[in-house]
Symmetry: C2
Subunit: 104 residues, 2 copies
């Protein structure tokens, strides 16, 4: 069965990209122990250092949705929201078929 | 130093999404031995099974560019092109900061 993938983009206010990315990296460390989390990658766009790209892979969409209630996540979201410029766009939902470099 | 990431999208002709994805999965197996390749993930969009998303992570952009000359890649590109509907869009170039699930 394919895994569930999500490509998300968060736009930070000017000059706040790194600060926002650090919060998402904290979230990625939390997700290491979240059920079904195979990947939680944090990146900045090369042509826009205030655009944070998050690429997640989960065993299932349900595992992803459950992670939003994971201890500490709400607090991180609370710290991230004031750094955003505008509301987050809808992510791209993926059916991950496989490939090199993904945790089994 | 941040790794280089690339999010690419290939639009297949109607009904050819799986066939195209299989070719990209072959490419991902080739990339397992390509210098600097940390990830080559192949997915389909949940709301468009003819849209193939490829998420790559490399030690450097140079490693990625060198991989295009890797044995077998040109042959795979030759098989993929006829399945595309229109030319591939420019990818999203990323500075990958880290996160859970990435090969070290």
């Amino acid at each position: 069965m394919a895994n569930y993938g999500l490509i998300g983009r968060l736009q930070a206010q000017p000059g706040k990209g790194n600060e926002l990315a650090e919060i998402l990296l904290e979230a990625s460390r939390l997700m290491e122990n979240a059920a079904g989390c195979k990947q939680y990658m944090v990146a900045l766009l090369e042509d826009d250092a205030d655009a944070v790209q998050i690429i997640e892979v989960w065993d299932s969409r349900e595992d992803h949705d459950n992670s939003l209630a994971y201890p500490g996540v709400k607090e991180l979201i609370g710290r991230a929201m004031p750094l955003l410029s505008g509301s987050p766009k809808t992510g791209i939902h993926l059916s991950v078929l496989g490939g090199h470099g993904l945790n089994k």
